[in-house]
Amino acid sequence: MTATTVSDPVVEELVQICGADHVFTERSARYNRARVPAPFPVHRWSEYVPDVVVLPTSAEQISEVVKLANRYRIPVVPRAGGTGLTDGAVPLRHGILVDVKLMNNILEIDMDDRTVTVQPGINMLKLNEELKPYGVIYPDDPASYPCSLVGGRIGTSGWSLIGGRYGHTRDLVISFEIVLPTGELIRVGDGGGPKIRKSSTGYQLKHLFMGHQGTLGIVTEATLELVPRPEAEFAAFFSYPDYDSAWRSTGSLAKSGLATLAGVVLFDEWKLSYLRRDDEAYIPQPDSVRCVVATAMYGTTDEVRPAAKRLLRIGQESGGNYLGDEISQGDWASRHDRYATPLHGRTPSGQVVPMSWHCEDASINWTALPLVREEWHEIVRRLIDRHPIFDDWGMFAYTNGAFKPWGDYLTEIDVGIWEQELDDESWAAWVQAKRDIAAVAVDHGGSISACHGACREGEVDLVPREMGGGFDVMKRIKRVLDPLNIMNPGKYLLDQAYEEGEPS
């Protein structure tokens, strides 16, 4: 039953390091750790299967596994929740998959210096359940809040739905411990103090070791920010007759300067018509409702109450029609669950088919949003014309900056893919569409990804263009830190770092 290209001595050594109960070579254990929800060529599943899976329980074990991988020159792929929307956790070159889910303990809650120290396998919802009695929260709130894990949030440098108020993952992770690609265990933060938020000592290594998609190491422990549990939440949804007025209103709301503002989200006409397919909140809305802008605020009651009045005034004065408490509160409360389910899928002829949801997520400045939107929809329209297994599920633009949410936007186009029908030709067309979508973002002065990462097939080709000279620095760093290209090889075009002629 067991089939693996990893030689038995390696498996034996892994068993010695992690224990027999935590090393898996069975087919199902490996096949179920081949993919993430990112676009996945399901018809080529077997190309992405790891050779062996380990579930370590300590940083020391992970360090030993990585050292062993260096000795045998076997790829190592870290995996936390496996919920990422780029393919950081997909084993492109097989090898040893290090799954950190068993490391999910809370190590310390420090109510004086306001930190919680955790292992990387803990989920934010579960963490917040434990923090509730203390009156604090860890406010990292991605769409995958009920299932993604802290380790993956660091590996992708994640983005939070309430980041405008509380910051994104990079603002909320104070320091962490990481096993480097050669097996050394170090701690990085702003400077050296594990609970220090701001330091000018040395290089700013925390940023380097976030968002690398597992190419620079495996996080084994993290110290996180605690904020007071908000007393008040306020959500307001506005409707607009056209995109232009919704876009202008979004700008006015985002520039309001209200410190409690957690986010402003603009849904375009395609997204609205997608929601009208089956969402009971939107089906009854009159035709004049073409675009929607959602806003949310958090803070103390004393802050949120007056700010909410001002926000409502700005929304209405800039052309918005308040959709009422029921939609506002209900839609906001269901923000993690609502906007992407496979059952919404339709072929161009209207047939309901199970489609998987894929979103391309650039960072785009406010001024560029209208043009990017037109060009992206056109790319997807051409894709659907040729391959009716794709479906345009619309776009949204979400304030992107932490604490100062006005200049640029997480901009997503959601595309449904009928995976049951995927083949090489349609997959290649999809990859080209992704490349085109990324090129539009870069051409408009944006960035290929605001939150998922940009290492997926297709868009990754544009990374050197976006990064310019910075990409050469990335390659040099990779080669210095990972001389044998052990850590998650094949990602981010970093194999180029090891080609002849590359300066080492």
Partner: protein, 428 residues
């Protein structure tokens, strides 16, 4: 590396299975949300992705593509209590299910895969032994090496003067009949006190639900056919059950077996008891001085949406301090006893129960009240191990006590005393 399974002898059966379940599997596979994972009682302990509802669906996609066979995955599907939490937490069910008349059916997927495994000759040894013993004795071997038999299936009712037959039958679950006999005794006392006429079966067999849950569908059907024939022979119209697992078997499995011919009204004892209290037919006048919390039985709360009636009863018991945890929070709670997990992976059941009891202890209670007799053995074991023990009591035991009825609490230690032969009208 590219891997393709060699076609096996079960290839045709597997292909048919994959065809039947492929859209359900893709609806999960395509979603990829995995919101189910952290509410899953097994995943919370093992943290192993192959035990997740996501994997249970993805495996079918992999089978369709020829990557995995039933032999590869059968053991993974042991790791499920069929509690239904994942189905409730699935965005497909939550937000679009009504519109498309679709709901995620992980429990059915797990049952179907287990049945495919059995049909393909892939057995889990402890389940096989359990079902074989059940077939031999007609009751589940809940006392381990001590045989359970038809001679003793109604011993729990000793001295209660319950007739055999009639329009209303009290069905006694195997765990209740042989292990926690205090629960059926409490149920019977309550019914008698409230003036509800009822009888016992002439010859009661296991409901067959556990066999169905473990994949032994033919065996399950045999039990069902016997029981339904017995009900018909005594002219039964109404079946009262106190065990949520029986309730599932009688309201979901049996109607599938018998179709339109199945006309029995199935009454859940907890709901009936709440009604009796509400209508004043059962007076709860004896104070019960305990500080309790309620354990939402998975098959009531998550599978059937029944969470109000038990709380209504607890609030009606004088003297009781009730520290409630809402039923949605309890989606992620379980005793770990369901669907045969305790038979194949008792270590996991123990750990799931330990965590459940720990949550109860964190509320500062002295008693955890359950309405599922199967949960009470593992929960009691863990409750008793604590420095400050948490007592685990069945809701019906509490009701009987509050109503001043004899025959309330009789724990496992009383089991041997109730396994006797004398004087039970129902014994054949």
């Amino acid at each position: 590396m590219s891997e393709q399974s060699e076609p096996t002898g079960n290839g045709h059966r597997e292909a048919q299975f994959a065809q039947e379940w492929r859209n359900a599997a893709y609806n999960c596979y395509s979603s990829g949300h995995k919101f189910c994972r952290e509410v899953c009682p097994v995943m919370q302990v093992t943290r192993d992705e192959v035990h997740s509802p996501t994997a249970f669906h993805a495996n079918i996609v992999a089978m369709e593509q020829g990557h995995l066979s039933v032999e590869d995955v059968a053991r993974d599907y042991v790791h499920c209590t069929q509690c239904g939490a994942c189905e409730l937490r699935c965005p497909n069910t939550l937000f679009t299910g009504d519109f498309y008349r679709f709901r995620t059916r992980t429990v059915d997927v797990v049952k179907a895969m287990r049945a495919l495994a059995v049909d393909s000759g892939v057995h889990q040894p402890n389940w096989q032994r359990w079902v074989d013993a059940t077939a031999q004795w007609k009751s589940e071997p809940v006392l381990g090496d001590v045989p359970v038999s038809q001679d003793h299936v109604a011993d729990w009712a000793a001295g209660l003067s319950i007739p055999v037959g009639g329009e209303t039958i009290l069905f006694c679950d195997c765990e209740g009949a042989f292990y926690r006999t205090s629960v059926p005794r409490a149920a019977a006392r309550i019914l008698q006190a409230a003036g509800v006429e009822f009888g016992l079966m002439r010859e009661q067999w296991c409901c067959g639900g556990p066999a169905a849950e473990m994949g032994y569908t033919d065996r399950a059907r045999e039990f069902a056919e016997h029981n339904v024939a017995d009900w018909r022979q005594v002219g039964a119209k109404r079946i009262i059950v106190f065990d949520p697992h029986d309730y599932i078997a009688f309201t979901e499995d049996y109607p599938r077996y018998f179709g339109d011919d199945y006309q029995f009204e199935i009454v859940l004892m907890v709901e009936l008891a709440a009604e009796l209290v509400r209508d004043g037919r059962l007076q709860l006048t004896h104070p019960v001085e305990r500080v309790v919390t309620y354990h939402d039985a998975c098959r009531l709360n998550k599978r059937k949406g029944i969470h109000e009636a038990p709380r209504e009863i607890l609030r009606a018991i004088p003297g009781l301090t009730f520290k409630d945890v809402d039923h949605v929070t309890q989606w992620s709670y379980c005793s770990g006893a369901g669907a045969g997990l305790s038979i194949e992976r008792p270590d996991l059941t123990a750990e799931i129960s330990r965590r459940r009891v720990e949550r109860a202890a964190g509320l500062g209670v002295d008693t955890l009240v359950s309405a599922c007799v199967w949960s009470e053995r593992p929960l009691s074991e863990q409750g008793g191990k604590r420095d400050e023990p948490v007592d685990v009591v069945d809701l019906l035991e509490l009701v009987a006590q509050a109503a001043g009825l004899d025959g309330g609490r009789a724990g496992p230690s009383a089991t041997s005393a109730t396994v006797g032969t004398e004087g039970t009208e129902a014994a054949q």
